[in-house]
Amino acid sequence: MKIHIISKIHCVVLLFTFTTLIGNGLSPTWAKECSYYNNASISKTTNQLPLWATNKLNTLGENYRISAEGRKRLLQVLLMAQHKQVSLSLLISKIEEGLAKKVPPQIIAQALLKEIDNYCYVRNLLKTFFSCAPEKLISNKVVKTIVDSLSLGLSRKELAQFIKSAPIAPLSMLAIAIENLALLKQIHFNPDMAKQIMFTGLRYKSFSSDWRYVAKIIALAKKRNLSDKQITKAALQILRHKQHLNKLMELLGFTSRNLQQNQFR
């Protein structure tokens, strides 16, 4: 079999065209994007959003068959979020969640507005109490963790009071403390003792990333009928010595076996 090629330039051009088409063809969003951009009224609105966000929303719109009105509403909210410099990826994740739960787009839009409001509130709070920290140093992860604490059961007032009275510590540690404070509130842990644990962790700067799971350890300890006072005493001792969370588990009498039996949920 003999193949005659006109010239190698043609060959390169053909190969490039072929790979581009194949590459785009394999992308699940490509075909949908084409149909989406036919809708001029919507694409005009999306001009200010990053392309990835538009593509994602479009894919979700097609997969969950969102009405044009619903899409428009969600886009408006995303544009507002962009204007207020709120992370779009987090909001899109919320849209995904709402759609998977069969929540109507209008309700999703309301939830997003609430989330945006929480973001702005937390950001302003951090700016107020950490004015020395440049805004770029306040990471999205930290803001998200603190925003989540509002959905975990902490009120805005409680959050503001905690941040106001908390010892100076890195923001990542503050986020760990706030998240755990909200989780401990859910299991009805003594609020004063919970604050004492968190403040000690911040004061001694002992909240390394593993301490994010301390609320779960405390929940298990409570299940083993350990009192809040006993747990607090053990936690303070470990935090003052800047030790690992494993040490607290050992001090509370946990073994590998009984922890595996209590799946962390």
């Binding site: 006109i6 194949i22 994740s93 995904e96 969640e97 739960k101 859910q186 593993d210 779960k216 949920r265």
Partner: protein, 202 residues
């Protein structure tokens, strides 16, 4: 030499050469004979060979010539088969991720096994939806055994939100979960902690 050629008569056919011309040619031949016998310059041969050598082309010119020169490829269908298979394999490796529904298990982080359990005998189908699978209901379907639905998956470390989707309609949080979070849609998500750094696999 110039003088010699200047003596050459104007264009005429051979048979039309007259006697005068014959004489002129004879004179010319005589003059040529009488020319002094000189040796050619020593570098004459080199100069001639050099002038006959092809000119050296620049790299880009060579490349251009190579590109525009038509080529013929001879392919054996039998030998083509493994090459085609290899090409398909490479394409699959490059674009394979487009075919997968879930990206949960593609994480390069250390994964920790987690078991979800829900007792719900009246359900026809139950899925786990959560932040670890972008809330996709099709990705993680649970298995029924006497009304108890279970699913074991492996997750990278972190804190995740999840819920159970019953019959693709009803969303409920895990009744056994200790922590939950308001989802802002009027429901609650359960929270799971996964930590591989801990030796106890919590």
């Amino acid at each position: 030499m110039f003088k010699i050629f200047s003596l050459w008569p104007p264009e005429k056919k051979n048979n039309e050469l007259d006697s005068n011309q014959d004489q002129e040619l004879l004179i010319l031949a005589r003059r040529l004979k009488n020319l002094p016998d000189r040796e050619p310059p020593s570098d004459l041969a080199d100069k001639i060979i050099q002038s006959l050598e092809p000119k050296k082309l620049s790299f880009w010119k060579k490349l251009y010539v190579w590109l525009i020169t038509p080529k013929a490829i001879t392919i054996s269908p039998l030998k083509l088969a493994p090459a085609l298979a290899l090409s398909l394999l490479l394409i699959w490796l490059a674009f394979g991720n487009f075919f997968s529904g879930s990206q949960v298990f593609k994480n390069t982080q250390k994964l920790v096994p987690v078991t979800f359990v829900l007792h719900y005998p009246q359900a026809h189908s139950v899925s786990v939806i959560g932040s670890f699978n972008q809330w996709q209901p099709k990705a993680l379907k649970m298995h029924n055994k006497n009304g108890t639905w279970t699913l074991e998956i492996k997750l990278p470390q972190g804190r995740y939100e999840y819920a159970f989707l019953i019959d693709n309609k009803l969303v409920i949080p895990d009744p056994k979960a200790e922590f939950c979070k308001a989802d802002l849609f009027g429901h609650k998500n359960s929270i799971i902690f996964v930590n591989h750094e801990n030796p106890h696999n919590i």
